[in-house]
Symmetry: D2
Subunit: 338 residues, 4 copies
């Protein structure tokens, strides 16, 4: 039995981790924390848990969590690293769903996240938890940085072509459309139904904190300096991210070759499916899949890649559980059936 804790269970990401762990009989969730809701049963915030667990939200108390096999941290960026600092060395493994340990450079972190890093010494230990890229390092990781939702789709979509040198590493354009749950469970006029419904808006142009994550992971993986423009859009869906990517072909490439390249790359990845159809969000919704569609556009000399995920599953909680499975030598897809 794996004994687990969830720090930050009042947000959508933490609640999804809880839902996925409650499905399992090889994992026991011993503690869930949420500073602002301490003392409440989890079903006070999420009535869907009614009758399914007696868990009560607690304050974060390292003594209370000490000795757990794994702790999932689902806190806002800036808060996550403080929790990691307090728990590091006292619990078996830490899976951080936030952004604090995804960049290896504390300076780059500060530039995009707008506050100083309080645990720069731990950045080196942290493993970027994209199983399709870092499988072997994840298996032995003690501190895992679960990828961001946008980066998960963008990186999976670009990896095979960039690693193979099929596309150029500069001039990449990533247009992404996201559901609103990615913004978290929060009160704001901008995120209200009336403002989001029947609407679209781009946001955080040029300053989104996922830009350096996408570029640095792809740069390290491909060995080339990857530069891309990333424009996120908020659209009226609750869940899902659709990323449409343009990259300039280095040479000629047939549709079949593109498909073969991607299928080979993901041959041992149970949650990535590749085709030459345009993917859809509903196909991956509430699942841990990333579906990728490829289109070689000869007229403009570009490879167009569409990648879709559920931002709360493959883009957060599902990928965290996938990583936990690897970190505990379990089947990668255990408990992640649609």
């Amino acid at each position: 039995m794996i004994h687990a804790g969830i720090v930050g269970a009042s947000g959508y990401g933490g609640a999804e981790v809880l839902r996925l762990l409650l499905r399992r009989n090889d994992v026991a969730v011993d503690a869930v924390t949420a500073a602002s809701s301490a003392g409440l049963h989890v079903d006070a915030l999420y009535p869907s848990f009614a009758g399914r667990t007696p868990l009560v939200l607690e304050e974060l108390d390292p003594d209370r969590l000490a000795g757990l096999d794994v702790v999932f941290i689902s806190l806002p960026s800036g808060e996550g690293m403080k929790a990691v600092r307090r728990l590091h060395g006292r619990v078996g493994k830490i899976i951080d769903l936030g952004g604090d340990f995804r960049l290896q450079s504390a300076a780059l972190y500060q530039q995009y996240y707008k506050h100083e890093h309080v645990a720069p010494d731990l950045l080196r230990d942290a493993v970027y938890g994209l199983p399709e890229l870092n499988h072997d390092r994840i298996v032995t990781a003690n501190l895992l940085a679960n990828p961001g939702c946008y980066p998960t789709g963008a990186i999976l979509g670009l990896l095979p072509a960039l690693v193979a040198g099929t596309v150029e590493s500069e001039g990449i354009v990533v247009n992404a459309m996201s559901g609103t749950s990615g913004a978290g469970r929060s009160a704001s006029v901008d995120m209200s139904f009336t403002e989001i419904n029947e609407n679209v808006r781009a946001y955080k142009l040029g300053v989104h904190q996922h830009i350096p994550e996408i570029e640095s992971v792809l740069t390290e993986a491909s060995g080339k300096s990857v530069r891309c423009s990333f424009v996120p859009h908020l659209i009226p869906i609750s869940r899902g991210i659709y990323s449409t990517i343009h990259a300039k072909l280095s040479g000629s490439l047939s549709q079949e070759e593109a498909l073969g390249l991607y299928r080979d790359y993901f041959a041992s990845s149970p949650f990535v499916r590749v085709s030459t159809q345009t993917p859809q969000i509903t196909t991956v919704s509430r699942t841990n899949y990333c579906d990728i569609g490829l289109f070689v556009q000869e007229r403009t000399g570009q490879l167009i890649i569409m990648a879709v995920i559920d931002n709360l599953i493959k883009g957060a909680a599902g990928q965290a559980v996938q990583n936990m499975n690897l970190m505990f030598a379990l089947s990668e897809s255990l408990g992640l059936e649609p």
Copy 2:
């Protein structure tokens, strides 16, 4: 030229009044107020006004508004009566879109609105601004209480049958489904897109402040003690209210007779359309219409009435402009073309 002011132009209702008045060349909007946003151009809150008006939001200053022909007040209940108190006697006519002057009893007001009425002396002067019911009194009103959104649909749906005695005045069931703009422009987790989308929830059972409004207006109009159960539901649409009403038939009634009764009642009402089809919200969306569908259900001895409106137009700003038209002896439908 009618000189108008809008107090509380930062909310959806006030902004819709502004949009409707900007269409007209017989009305000049001289001032718009919004305490929390004073100093901002209206297009800072509503970019849709960009390039269409130079109006800047101001603090409410009775000296500044004094002498205007008409002032629309679109403030939260409790705030509206304070503004009326300050403006009464200093401006030509006041149209209050809030709930503070809709009930003639200060005691009933306090019971449902949960605070004391600060201007009970003005309640007698206030005219309930449902043109289909109070046309003649509206024409001469100086203080007009614009009906609530839910009551507009429920009352129009029930009026002809109750006045004619076709249905019993007790045991009425009003189920209403509302779009989210009715909750105003506000920040809350409950009204966030992620919580509203793909969801329905009933709310305020038995305590909604529109219950006494519906019952008292219908009681006065019909001369019978009207009692109804009112259950509002929040559904994932931005605009519109669908009210499905059950009332017990007093005697036998054919579908044709029901239709005739309603068409006669609304013969001179340009914004009410009656049929034996089930109505739809999109048909009245962004318009000042109330569409009513009738179904005589012999099997259960009930008249089922469905009434639909756009909560921000016929349920608020449009009806306010309709009332202004009557109060200034203009064509009732001026400036309210779909």
Copy 3:
């Protein structure tokens, strides 16, 4: 290993049965049929199945299905009974998700379904598959009529109060709001996104085929002649049904007594949760739960009951699997974790 077949796997209901069965390692799906799509892989219709099953849709061939332990039938009403006729006696157990075997009277069937019943002799054998009502009969059933989506919510909401005589059996009003997946996977202007979005419409007033199902099941269960008005509304959500029910109290009843009555009634039902809060659809979405909220409205002498389900899970495929579990002596909730 239970060997199963799904007849009519191209619709939403059949596809959900397939999804739920693919989760399990104690059930093997040996055949899926869909006349109009025979020869296609299931992922051609539902890309979400890509990589998860090699199943190819077939024509319905009784010889091919003969000997299966259980066959789920998810066909339009009128088609289901023909399939049952062909398979009856040749397969172990039949679970019909359509409406053909829910009414015990062939005459009543014809009145509401508008065509003659072709297997009236089998009506007596068919067991109405609402586990919370018919647990023991389901365990031994060979032909199971899975309840309709609307009736599931309405009946569960009314059962305890009607059986206990707490409410009167006449004058019941059921207002229901349904997502669009209940209408099936079909091409029509009326069901297009542009027509449904931002819209509400009531439909099939007085003639909906679920009216006799609700009334006859409740009449038989309570021993009183139950009569209710049922008004279904189509609202812009994909999944879920919200039923708001008004029933006249027979005597006085406190909120606590109502809660106790319902909790007692459903004490051994793992998928019904009762509270005095208003329920929400998202809480039960993608689950087999029915959440019930109770409100005793003294002012009008009514019990207001709100019941919510996911129309495709508790209202169709999930309940079918729940029934299968009972019919094969398995844990009632096996494979139905959220």
Copy 4:
């Protein structure tokens, strides 16, 4: 009084033209046609017209329409040119909302529209009706090709920068997200609410008929060979198009310079608003505005342009009325108030 006819009034575009013309007292709509619905009142298809017009849909009869001052044609591509052929020379002016006269090359037309052009002799006469580009030619046009919805946003977004040579004419990427009304009023599983809701999908990659329209208009206007990749996405909104465009800067450009360039270009265009904020669809919804947001991204050397319109208004009916205004020497914005 301008006497107008609408050919194809059963679709969304034609119905919007009718709505906009019914607002006016200087235009009389004398005839509306719709082959498949001939004999029906327009309110049978669009209940929103109930009580507002006695118009009955007719078959298209050139003798009946002969002599009208203007005829709007809102038919599927391929049908429009047949109607133009029949009406040309018999009515005053023709405004075709379809795609048949937007490309000057019959060969290019056939390549993308997949059928032969039946009136290639009229292509030369047709004026491309983008008022912000072709104002003077529109004033004198007799056959006007109203722009496509996607091209309207993409072309307005790119025109100033391309004409000024601020961006390179190759390597342009246009990602567009569209509401569903752009697909017309039609019955298909793909366009059903259940399939569109909570979903996104790209479609028609590399073969969309708006590609040659965008490229040829921009090529002619800028004098450079413009090549762009265009990826349309269907998202769950009814109305609106959001186009996010990447173009490579030719040299250095400040945010202020970009803003100045665009504001100068559109100085006399009442319906284009430019800012350095990201635009939103709701801001232009139900209006004839095109809002443009500019972002100079130095890090990648690109100008990012976001352009939003309402596909049925500025992208169809509103622009058609704007063109009619110009063709009849009226104020460009007459009858197009929000």
